[in-house]
Symmetry: C2
Subunit: 348 residues, 2 copies
């Protein structure tokens, strides 16, 4: 089981974890941006392995370079890897650690809100391969994760909004009260100091779901809320050479799937207007789509890897905030209607 | 836990396993030799992924080619990989399966005695990396392993002797009676039909040890018997451009470690003469060493990855057949004496 620490005193927390794990050696894996902007402030005494930044660098070449550096730095089976960075670093550094000498221990220190609430916790590691996202990887939980908001101050607002969309998702899975408190917090202007308790609650929602289903055979699929439609928006934007932040696509995807939940289940219509209003007020913008993109979006949903067969598009839907239902499907007609209503609510 | 089947009717056994696992698709991973010599006889209806043969092909390039072929053949998370071959195929195919889409199910069908008794069972998968053996990999047990002697008839005697050394090791770990029955069987001339029950007993020794300690934190290290000195012989031969079969090196290493067990523990001297005589009678030959190689061999043992520090050379020793002791160490003087006695017993 993963040990998760919530603190804004990162350096003492890391030293204390390293002392308790008593590794033969310690190796920090990070990317070029974090190495410049965050590492100097943390003042850590350990070897550093730096990878290129960005999702396009989450590949076999970078992974192989991490393994090589571990060998050069003399890492043994009793060594410890500390991944410091966003989701690319924790996914790839975690996979490197999970496979180096058949597995060495590792700690994740996510430096973005998105990775804190999503990638760093839950044991999914991996790299992209031949253009497929996370096509190669392993389920390998970190020995410890440090959740902190103290590295978020340098993040652009886009990054914060992107991560906050995953927090809203966790609120929707957890309870109406959690969801309400998230919509009440203003991520675009509120002080970051107030974020840590909300983040702790959010990470615990994910932790709790992962504990029940580490290998995603059932309830863990609830975490896919917003992601079937969200991935379709993300892929369409990528194909059109105007990529959108993952969290924005998820934020929009949640609305599409709330609408589907309303059309096919009991999800209340008032909640649709409330959430659409929230998206507009926070500056999530909207996908660049028209009614002409509907068939394309449905086709992209059909090829989502969460589906068992292309005939059955898998969604996590909601009966109401706090009441998710996994393994739902929807007809092409329902998805088409949902996308029409979505464009309407978003003013497209 | 791994399901292990002992049978010489491979094809029906595979069909029945596939039926019970009900995979979305089936992908055989094998090497060029097995594809030519064994696969046609098995008459299996599934897609085949063929890798180059030999330990030098157990690398990132071949691994990457297996992942690519799985994608091309449309493998999903619910697909099944069947590794058919020696240790290179089961190690690398197992690792490919364990990491493709964060893990798909796989079956091992070892086609050599060495892989049947060693690599195919126990969950160690991996590849060589930058010249280091099994430097990258995962602990990932196969969903099922089929142990059969029916593919051994085409193996050269060297291969059988090599595998039999690991069976002798299992006998030494298990009981005096098991060990005796192995020395009584003549692997170089006895009919293969009589081998299956001995092999079953031998695989169960390993299975039992692995069950107690899947991640090699303790008792599983007993399986290293013969391997500290054995790896040194293997590395020396490789450095001298005259590689020796792994099992031969282990067979010789067992004798060195029996001698150390005699020098530092209670292992009876009569057993040394008996085992040395057995090695000579079966045609295991002897390593090409003289007293001038002693320092080099000790240096190689010092750098064995089983050691926690280079100052402490880790051995599994024996109080007597059936009574192993893990995490022993020995002084340089004792190792030097053991190598002197070894050369003596081997007539070098």
């Amino acid at each position: 089981m993963q040990k998760i620490l919530y603190t804004n005193d990162i350096t003492p927390a890391l030293h204390s974890l390293v002392d308790s794990l008593a590794p033969a050696s310690v190796h920090i894996v990070t990317d070029v941006n974090v190495a410049t902007e965050v590492l100097p402030r943390l003042d850590l005494p350990w070897s550093v392995i730096t990878t290129p930044a960005g999702d396009s660098a989450k590949d076999l070449t970078s992974l192989s370079a991490i393994w090589s550096s571990l060998i050069e730095q003399g890492a043994t089976r009793r060594s410890l890897v500390i991944n410091i960075g966003g989701g690319v670093v924790t996914d790839m550094g975690g996979f490197a650690a999970a496979t180096f000498k058949r597995g060495v221990r590792f700690i994740n220190l996510p430096t973005t809100l998105l990775s804190a609430v999503d990638a760093a916790v839950g044991g999914k590691t991996g790299i992209n391969f031949l253009g497929y996202k996370n096509e190669v990887g392993a389920f390998a939980p970190a020995d410890a994760v440090i959740i902190s908001t103290s590295t978020f101050s340098t993040l652009p607002p886009t990054e914060l909004l992107s991560g906050y969309a995953e927090m809203i998702k966790h609120g929707l899975l957890s309870s109406a009260a959690d969801y309400d408190s998230l919509l009440d917090y203003d991520i675009s202007s509120a002080p970051l100091g107030e974020l840590l308790p909300l983040l702790e609650k959010s990470v615990k929602v994910k932790e709790n779901i992962v504990l029940q289903d580490p290998f995603e055979k059932g309830i863990r699929r609830a975490l896919n809320l917003g992601h079937t439609a969200g991935h379709a928006f993300e892929s369409l934007a990528l194909d059109n050479n105007s990529p959108v932040p993952h969290g924005y696509a998820v934020a929009w995807g949640i609305l599409v799937e709330m609408i589907l939940s309303h059309l096919t289940r009991s999800f209340p219509s008032a909640q649709l207007y409330r959430y659409a209003g929230y998206l507009r007020s926070q500056g999530y913008g909207a996908p660049a789509i028209t009614c002409k993109d509907t068939d394309r979006l449905i086709e992209l949903m059909r090829h989502d890897k969460k589906n068992d067969t292309p005939d059955h598009i898998n969604f996590t839907l909601l009966d109401s905030p706090g009441h998710p239902v996994i393994d739902c499907t929807a007809s092409t007609d329902d998805i088409r209607s949902a996308l029409d209503i979505f464009r309407d609510l978003m003013g497209l």
